[in-house]
Symmetry: D3
Subunit: 253 residues, 6 copies
């Protein structure tokens, strides 16, 4: 099964990504019916562990949405496990140097590109028998997060690491690292200029850039600016905001 995100990006089409923190395969099953191109299970800040992640992957499967996982950290054990569980890509937090980016690629790619160990216990179910290992290096996406000043300083070197398909901007950690309050949907001019600079460097290398957003309108602006993957409507915040609004609407009476 070819990775539809990759195909979209190659055509220059932007894709819309969901963000799942609720550790329930049933919740994933519902959420995956929302029209997203991909959904990322947030194994870092989300309330997810390996088994809930696997249940979410199972819940999403019939919808055809592309499943991604944000791993808790750049550690080989967990990168291997989420890929074996069926993730079509890993988003990895806090990649700040070419060395860290190289390690991530190593963990996520089979030989000869990397050192990922062979045993796609569940991932193989997404492919014809025997085919998974032949296409995985091509189809599995590696997305380091760019979210610190140090990562910006090393951006060119990070992007030059072979095997990086896209980068993913974490706005709140990036602002935090720059000494600003940790916010989403940033309007700070300095930060917006940084986004422009990132986009220039990624597009020069045909690498897609993604960004974590909140409001649909902001996500649209980011697409217009050049991002090819935008996250909107994370499950927890969306549920809470919509529910609060409904309760308030009744109370108003």
């Amino acid at each position: 099964m070819p990775n539809r995100l990759k195909a979209a990006w190659q055509k220059g089409t932007a894709t819309i990504n969901g963000w799942q923190a609720i550790p329930s395969g049933f919740s994933a099953e519902v959420y995956a019916r929302s029209g997203f191109d991909s959904i990322t299970i947030d194994f870092q800040h989300g309330v997810q562990d390996y088994h809930s992640c696997l249940a979410c992957l199972q819940g999403m499967m019939p919808s055809g949405v592309v499943p991604l996982v944000r791993v808790p950290w750049n550690e080989p054990g967990i990168v291997g496990k989420v890929l074996d569980a069926g993730a079509y890509g890993v988003i990895c937090p806090m990649i700040n140097s070419a060395e860290e980016a190289q390690a991530l690629v190593q963990y996520a790619k089979y030989p000869p590109m990397g050192t990922r160990s062979n045993g796609p216990v569940r991932a193989a179910l997404y492919a014809e028998p025997g085919a998974y290992q032949q296409t995985a290096n091509e189809e599995i996406l590696v997305l380091p997060m760019i979210e610190t000043r140090k990562a910006l300083d090393n951006l060119a070197a990070i992007l030059d690491v072979p095997g990086i398909d896209a980068i993913y901007v974490g706005p709140s950690d990036l602002s935090f690292s720059l000494g600003k309050p940790p916010r989403m949907d940033v309007e700070d001019k300095e930060v917006l200029a940084i986004y422009e600079s990132i986009l220039k460097q990624t597009s020069a290398r045909s690498i897609a850039a993604g960004i974590h957003c909140n409001a649909p309108s902001y996500a649209r602006r980011m697409i217009e600016m050049g991002f090819r993957l935008v996250t909107v409507a994370p499950d927890v915040g969306t549920l809470l905001n919509a529910t609060k609004a409904a309760v308030s609407a009744v109370r108003a009476a």
Copy 2:
């Protein structure tokens, strides 16, 4: 801890109820911050079992929201278990006769009112040591669902059963039973007339009436009509609708 729903109803104040189908204690913790007076864990049609129900009760506790459970059926084992787990009330589907209503009251009340067995393993944590059994019969709500033609035929007898604090109207099953399509937020004149009739009979006995709603505006109308408990913003539908809307808003670009 006195049951705030009961107090509100005695003052004639309407209360707003949430509806949790997602089997996650964390999701409950978030959902309980939405401003509801009570939340009902849907152990009938929701994706809940006893342990997820208990996790949701734990998740809701710090918010102070009143926890209710809709049990899967009028069966003594599960009525006892959800009360021992800490529910402040049970909503029971498909109560169609005084006998069924009486059985439900028996299962939910300690002697001498009923035959509930003593052992509030978790429920006792809501009260001062030793106090739970003395106040449970007073504070625990029993809400039979009125949702069939047969229940309408037997309504007076059901309402005359001692120990019924409120009834809860299930609009889609009621419509189904009447030979109409199963719908929420019904505009059908015959059904609305039935609601009026129910409210006349419940208010004559100082019994509160509740109803399952969807749109906040419809819930407001039901409050104006006389209902004292309205359910809005069920977790699954609310999440799905809000997420779909956000994705569409980005796609529209």
Copy 3:
């Protein structure tokens, strides 16, 4: 999604059913790749509860296999819950009279045929939006188990209950009830004569008959005899036998 079992039976084609006792959604995912027409999650004797059953239903979904559930008993709460979870049919143990068969049909069918409550929280995901309730009575199979002497005595009356799509023979309980040792793949002449008699009565009413088997060769014989659903290769026994054989083969050296 039309129920492929029903279609096959109407054409007189026999179907092959798996039997899942291991409470793991991942195990279900693997098992569902074996070529079965349907798989029954054994919620009676299997190590299953509601949540493991739901996980198995999710695991099976992408394979397209028809999911059935054997419920623990003829109790309305659990029949409703497994159908809401997505089962395309219920096998119910120990149906011994027309009254019990009628009760089962009531629990499993929406009005006006029955009294199933409306709320297909997960089951609706198998259908186009809004379509589930319109087709469920047609597509959901009701299979009482015929497995006692009393059921044989009442067989005609049971089969005459409207809404019975098929019956399912439990050979070991049937033998037990007849005073014989509880066995699968029975060769006892009296029992085989009973099977013939059952098949005569079911085929006269265009009701399919199913039977629990063990060995593939016996299952073939049952198909030739006239059964339209045969269970083979239950997960626990199959795993244990195959593993024992492999270990013995190595030890033999």
Copy 4:
């Protein structure tokens, strides 16, 4: 594996029973090392469901302690499931008549004594291959709880039901039913006289009597009075009391 409780009672030896409410197989593993003859998993008031009950049975197995389960109610589905999971006996709450006692025996015994369905998926692991069904009716204990005034009124008839191995007195529900406060380790003269009367009737029929106790000293008195099974040191209360005492001892400084 013969049931050691039964053997002890036949010799007139009293046995000591634990009581597990914490739903953790690991906790069961620890608790089972305490020297009990048997441990009852409390599936009624304890925080247990089917899967936690099974995990506790697994945890207890290596210790050799006899595993009992108190079921939530006298319902055939769950009685069958806990026996299939490996329980060596069921304690059933609120048995108030000979009819209810007979139903319980039916659910718990294989033909010809009862109607238990054959399929001891995990229970068979306690026996030699093929042996379980031949000895289960003999080894599996059926213990109705005597805990209401109505049960006392019907005691002789209940005890005359074939298949009752022992009864189990629930002191707090019994007191509740008699209009007294629900207490353990009762000193009320009327209640103690009732215990004497129960013991007279059970010993006349060679039926063992068990009772739920709290303090070891009270349990000893009950053994002296004639009870053959005493429960002490329930996990939740024992943990909480011991921990409170330790904290107080440090604070005292």
Copy 5:
């Protein structure tokens, strides 16, 4: 919500800490009623993983006890995850050098003190909306364990690392590392002298010292010696000892 441990230590008051190994949110709920100032979920040697840890945090919340977690190792992924789950402090095993202590502080503190990533998915529920990130660096405690000879050699350097609020002595590992049998509540003179030396160095820097104890009397001595956090009554050992004692008391009869 200010961290009450920190406040107590600043006033020189000793605090009493519980230790939870049983992976059950319900068990946590009970245990948290024992009067402890704080409870540490033992994610290293306890039978805990991320989801049971989260369930325990939820279970403890209403009691107001301060929740700490001992992480399995000094790894950034898991330190971040337990803090996001709501821990008010991390105890980290085997910190043997200033470099390791610095890494731990980095993982646990937001910029500019550290590199913790922003996303307190559950932790934010302990604070007013938006307030968590502003107070976390102040309120979250970092407690390296001092439990090897190497750590003693590097103690001054470890204590000089900015951001260390307290240290926690692991007596059995410390004894092990010194070539002595691994014991709690040590009476060995050499070890007691080491404690004195540790206390001298910590108090010189206004850093609190904690120690793992067993007997309340020993814990009191440690408080008198100068420790400001003492662990007593760990759940597993306390349950087992109290239960064994009760069983023995009955057997003695």
Copy 6:
């Protein structure tokens, strides 16, 4: 309890190992009845996490089979946790140098051999009270996986690390690393020559060699070649193959 694998190897006897990927304690209980000498819970590529691993260890315990765990990676946190949970040995993937082998030994051995932290919360249940820590270094097996070209290059140095009891060959990763397709039961002459070379080096040091196999006949050949631990009949593949064969056998009719 002495480790029977170690005893067998010292006598030159080969042992047969199972491989569990299905995360179910019940499945483990069944699988452990197959006649294996040991079973390895595959925490790397299997669908296992810490809690399922612990449930599998509990499920296996009564069978007496020796429990091993393949950890996800050479990380100290998880090595300690699986040993504390009761594993009698760790198989660690991708050990490519003496430094990595030394680190693994450090994580798995108590002082003075290593730096494992003391707290065998569940593991102690396998030994007499107080005895575990005295025998663990002797009885717990450390098995680095040899599965890359780099590991072959460093084999002598790896084998010379004190504390290595055996090595475990991963054929598919080894082939992958050598530029060949990742296969089990390899017939490639170059690879078979490598096996011979490995066996020569291990036997020279009285270190046992193990290998991952599939077919019993191949496992027998490996035993004849000199391997002392062969894995056969992994649960997932065995279940799927046996089930497919049964379904095909019925279809063939």
